[in-house]
């Protein structure tokens, strides 16, 4: 194109060695393949060439956009990390508030975008930061993948977290088994496809939404994942 002038530098250049030539080519191949280039014994000149080559990739449009899959998985990792690092400091927790926090964390971490937000929300309120009992979360096998039929429910305990595994029209989900009103244990009402509280009569649907009664908020969701035909729920190491 516009090359009447040669804007730079040492010409004639010393000829590159065959080794340089081949290695730089494989470095460029790595960039194009979006792979990590190999580390090598590079002199200053070779390192400069690579710094420049890496930045020249930006000549193409849009190469620098992250994939949604990467962002989602990083967000999830961060959620786990937040929980792992935030240690309880101030006061011991009531069982209820602990369970609520643990389940809120668990639900958040399992759901991509909701992950960090859920935790961040916790941290922003005045007390809950010490609710996230951290370093204790782990996955528990709680059911066979095909064990809960559509419309069915199975109660489980994942360390200190009690929950129900529910099959909502073919989609498995887990919610806390503790009523958000006074902390009573819920019972499934299989016929109605609901969970209800024997203490004060609150009722929840299979997504954890409050249908009736005094419960102030929906049931926290608990993160689950499938592996090797089993369903794992994210719980805590031990009962608090």
């Amino acid at each position: 194109m516009s090359n009447d002038h040669d804007p730079a530098a040492p010409d004639p250049q010393p000829p590159p060695s065959l080794e340089d030539v081949v290695q730089l080519d494989s470095f460029l191949d790595a960039l194009q393949g979006e792979r990590r280039p190999e580390r090598r014994d590079l002199d200053d000149e070779e390192l400069r060439e690579r710094l420049i080559a890496a930045q020249l990739r930006m000549a193409a449009d849009g190469v620098e956009h992250p994939t949604p899959a990467f962002l989602a998985s990083l967000e999830q990792t961060i959620g786990q990390e937040v929980a792992r690092q935030g240690r309880p400091r101030r006061r011991p927790l009531s069982r209820l508030s602990f369970l609520r926090a643990a389940a809120t964390f668990a639900g958040g971490a399992g759901i991509g975008v909701a992950g960090v937000e859920g935790i961040a929300a916790l941290r922003d309120e005045s007390r809950p930061r010490d609710l996230v009992v951290a370093g204790n979360d782990r996955w528990y096998a709680v059911a066979q993948a095909d064990e809960v039929a559509p419309g069915g429910a199975k109660s489980f305990t994942a360390g200190g977290v009690m929950g129900f595994l529910l099959n909502d029209s073919g989609r498995l989900r887990a919610v806390s088994a503790i009523c958000t009103h006074m902390g009573c244990r819920l019972k499934p009402d299989q016929a109605a496809g609901e969970l209800h509280c024997l203490c004060h009569g609150s009722r929840f649907n299979r997504r954890g939404d409050v249908l009736s009664g005094m419960a102030p908020s929906p049931l926290p969701e608990i993160a689950i994942r499938m592996e090797g035909g089993l369903v794992y729920a994210l719980g805590t190491k031990e009962t608090v």
Binding site: N3, H65, I78, A120
Partner: protein, 177 residues
């Protein structure tokens, strides 16, 4: 500001910032993760959106520089002009755009054959052999030309390339995106 909203607001941009300096997805993902995991620790205290953003860019910058230092297995003092070859200015959010403008100017400013080889390599994603086919050269020729082209580009530095004269410092005046 919460880590969650900081993530949503900055993650893709920080990735782009890093990508612009390492040129491949795998390393950009590694370093982006590294930056945000550090942020988890740092964000134990509440911070403003501005201070989070500037912390993220500073940390990304350090991660990029460290990555490049470690790319050579040779134990040596790092390049004297290291930072000058890596960053156009201190303003993080505008850096990806500046890198793109710079990259296009460089590709346009190189002598014909060298420019053509790099354009096919970087814009079309051709391998050396494919570039050779397109230009009637051997793959070996192409490999030599691309080394020369990159050396010439390195000698130009990151300053304004064609519109010549001023040194890299002037780029600081660019407005943010």
């Amino acid at each position: 500001m919460t880590l969650g909203s900081a993530f949503q607001e900055n993650a893709a941009k920080i990735f782009g910032f890093i990508y612009a300096k390492v040129g491949n997805r795998a390393v950009a993902e590694d370093l982006t993760s590294q930056v945000f995991l550090k942020a988890v620790r740092w964000l134990a205290e509440d911070r403003s959106a501005d201070s989070i953003r500037s912390w993220l860019y500073t940390t990304a910058r350090t991660a990029i520089a460290d990555y490049w230092r470690e790319q050579s297995t040779r134990l040596q003092a790092p390049l004297a002009d290291f930072e000058e070859l890596l960053f156009h200015g201190s303003d993080g959010p505008a850096e990806s755009r500046r890198t793109r403008e710079w990259a296009r100017r460089v590709l346009a400013a190189l002598p014909d054959r060298e420019g053509e080889v790099l354009r096919l390599r970087f814009l079309k994603g051709y391998s050396a052999a494919e570039v050779g086919q397109a230009l009637g050269l051997t793959a070996g020729n192409v490999r030599v030309i691309q080394v020369r082209a990159l050396r010439r580009a390195a000698a130009m530095g990151l300053g304004p390339v064609i519109d010549g004269g001023s040194s890299g410092e002037g780029t600081e005046a660019h407005d943010e995106q």
